[in-house]
């Protein structure tokens, strides 16, 4: 297959999905969005969490929050099955599960005064379901925090120029927010000023790296998450994420342009390598027996690798957590909720899978692209030692494939030197990745606080003072991030950074959460919106399929992988996964009961 065909096929599928599945079916027929119905952002305005936002600003927040390392690390890891199977999962998951799940979670929350999808379950499945769901989400968010705390700290320690840019980015975002909100500067002018300063910062950070140890970054980013999660959304979150979205657009835009300049380049990678990969792909630590065994079956274990690129339960918590409380108009939800998920799928398919498929076999790709093997060696890829993309670790697969596609395209177009372009784009890819990890760190903590506050509401009628203390926004942010920091801090002997163990546990519980959230949203559509027949089956069947897939995958993870991880993580990540599986079974029972009850009405 040629690059241009791959690109056009993916773009056409997304365009059709957005117009027909998103707008015509979900927005117009299922939810019947109404621009005149007041949203919780205006109805419950409090200046802290409930604040209406411009739809482009909100898209920036939502997109940057949901697009952490997931759409990049997951598909890169899943290349172990070839390029076609991960692409198939990303497209199928995006359109029929992920985007539907994000949009309906957001709209269900908007129609219920900004309540989280967990609390919405109370009306549909009973009070018990609500508390089980909240506890499940709170536990899953701790795993998200631990995984991203570890990933962000490891990236900053390894790529210190990315840390410089992150430090410069904070005052810049605040400056942008203060310009727009406090001094009424036109948003276009403020955007131009902020982007020019960001570009200067980007160039400057090349020459001044900020060095700190991995453990040092864990401490600093723990404090960052604690503070940032407690600040009002308009002050940091909205302007920072709005600017972040530009970084992501540039990143995705470049990914779209490269195949246009290499239209007839043929893919050099195998569509399918095997339907079963080694245990290391799903988190078995290196050196353990499970790492070398053929146990990573594409189905059902693909959700343990590809998380946010295809679908993610974390999105439903963001959609019904921070985003639904900032939505100014119901019609904005399609662009923000459905559109963000498709854009995230585009990151996975066009910025990760396509470049990797094109430059899979380095010798063959060099020949097709007209690059000499000496040039590749000068860029750091020695084809004698590194024959194909799978020889790299997951994150390096992405950096190298993205930089190879970009450097080839731009060097051909403008006749520039390949090697400096390759190195520049490799650094840019690292920056793009880290930009979103920080966003996820404070959004996940804010969401854990929301879940905690909702979970503790039974204390309020008993003792108002106790309720006020335990739901204090700094205390409620401190508890989850402290537990996460304990898991993220140690470097595990013989394995490395903590995220290598935490990632599959986080991915699995996160995908299970997606199944539960989609089931809840489906029940909301069925019982509250009274949508029946084939349309409701379009949501119910993918939700049931996902639930079965992830429950099986997590069961296999507990059986094969968990016994191989160190004790701290058996207790930490392992117990959270086992707890999640237990709660999952309880919730599916309550869902079936709720569905039968709704049918009878």
């Amino acid at each position: 297959m040629q690059a241009i065909l791959f690109l056009l096929m993916v773009l056409a599928i997304y365009a059709i999905a957005y117009i027909f599945y998103g707008r015509e079916l979900l927005q117009n027929r299922v939810v019947k969005a109404d621009p005149n119905r007041p949203t919780p952002a205006v109805e419950n305005f409090d200046g802290i969490d409930y604040v209406p936002a411009n739809k482009y600003v909100l898209f920036g927040h939502h997109f940057a929050s949901i697009a952490g390392a997931g759409p990049i690390v997951g598909p890169a890891l899943a290349l172990a099955w070839g390029w076609f199977l991960p692409l198939l999962w990303v497209l199928f998951g995006n359109i029929f599960i992920g985007a539907v799940h994000d949009y309906t979670s957001m709209m269900a929350s908007v129609r219920q005064g900004g309540l989280s999808i967990m609390s919405i379950s109370e009306n549909l499945m009973g009070r018990r379901a609500r508390y089980i769901f909240l506890l499940y989400v709170w536990a899953a968010l701790i795993l998200v925090l631990a995984a991203f705390l570890s990933v962000a700290s490891a990236t900053f320690a390894a790529e210190p120029t990315a840390a410089t840019l992150a430090i410069l980015f904070m005052p810049l975002s605040l400056l942008f927010g203060i310009m727009v909100y406090k001094f009424g500067v036109d948003i276009r002018l403020a955007t131009v000023i902020a982007l020019v300063l960001l570009l200067i910062g980007l160039v400057y950070s090349f020459s001044v790296p900020v060095h700190l140890t991995y453990e040092g970054w864990v401490v600093v980013l723990t404090l960052y998450s604690l503070i940032a999660a407690a600040l009002p959304v308009w002050y940091l979150l909205q302007p920072r994420d709005y600017l972040n979205a530009y970084v992501l657009w540039i990143f995705v835009g470049l990914a779209l342009l490269a195949p246009l300049f290499l239209p007839f380049m043929e893919i050099t990678g195998p569509a399918i390598t095997s339907f079963v990969a080694k245990g290391a792909v799903v988190g078995a630590p290196r050196g353990t027996p499970a790492a070398g065994l053929d146990i990573a079956y594409f189905w059902p274990m693909v959700p343990l690798t590809i998380a946010c690129g295809a679908l993610s339960g974390f999105h439903s918590v963001v959609a019904s957590g921070t985003s639904s409380k900032q939505l100014a108009n119901e019609l904005d939800a399609l662009f923000v909720g459905y559109g963000s998920m498709l854009a995230e799928g585009a990151v996975a398919s066009l910025a990760v899978i396509l470049p990797a498929a094109l430059f899979w076999d380095f010798s063959a790709a060099a020949q097709k692209a007209g690059i000499s093997l000496e040039t590749l060696k000068a860029a750091g890829i020695d084809v004698e030692k590194t024959k194909n993309i799978l020889a790299f670790g997951a994150v390096d697969r992405f950096y190298n494939a993205y930089a190879l596609a970009q450097a080839t395209a731009w060097s051909k177009l403008f006749g520039l030197d390949f090697v400096p372009l390759f190195k520049g784009f490799k650094t840019f890819a690292a920056w793009a990745l880290t930009a979103f990890v920080l966003t996820t760190l404070d959004t996940a903590n804010r969401l854990a606080r929301f879940a905690w506050v909702e979970m503790m509401d039974w204390v309020r009628p008993m003792n108002r003072d106790a309720y006020r203390i335990i739901t204090n926004r700094f205390l409620a942010s401190l508890i989850p991030i402290l537990i996460a920091a304990v898991m993220a801090y140690p470097t595990i002997e013989g394995i490395g950074r903590a995220y290598l163990v935490i990632w599959p546990a986080f991915a699995g519980t996160n995908q299970l959460l997606a199944a539960l959230a989609l089931l809840t949203a489906t029940l909301w559509v069925y019982a509250v919106l009274k949508v029946r027949g084939p349309v409701s089956l379009l949501m119910l069947i993918p939700a049931a399929f996902l639930w079965l897939t992830v429950t099986l995958a997590l069961g296999l993870w507990v059986l094969f992988i968990l016994p191989n991880v160190p004790l701290l993580y058996q207790i930490g990540a392992g117990s959270l996964v086992v707890l999640s599986l237990g709660l999952d079974i309880l919730l599916i029972y309550l869902f079936v009961r709720g569905l039968l009850r709704a049918r009878a009405i």
Binding site: P38, A41, V42, E43, F45, G47, V51, P52, P160, T164, I167, L168, M170, P171, L174, I178, Y181, K182, G184, Y204, S207, V208, P209, V210, H211, L212, T213, G216, V220, L223, Y224, I227, A228, L231, P232, W234, Y235, L236, A328
Partner: protein, 80 residues
């Protein structure tokens, strides 16, 4: 300026001084801030600046923006 705003302004100034000094003085003189694999005073100071810049302007300028208040009042018809 009340006490909270005063503290906020002081923290903002301190944060900007720390970030500015470390990035534009130490960084330009040494070619980097901190030393690879070590926790140095410079790394601690710039980290402190990074965290204080989050808190300072919030305490200093932290009430809800007028533009957002007006939007909500127009939509709901009640004073916020």
């Amino acid at each position: 300026m009340n006490q909270r705003e005063l503290v906020g302004a002081a923290l903002t100034l301190l944060a900007l001084l720390l970030i500015g000094y470390e990035l534009f003085v130490v960084g330009l003189l040494n070619g980097s801030v901190g030393t690879k694999g070590q926790v140095t005073l410079d790394a601690v100071l710039i980290s402190a600046g990074f965290l204080l810049i989050l808190l300072g302007p919030w305490l200093w300028l932290g009430e809800v923006p007028v533009a957002v208040k007006r939007f909500v009042e127009a939509k709901t018809g009640r004073r916020t």
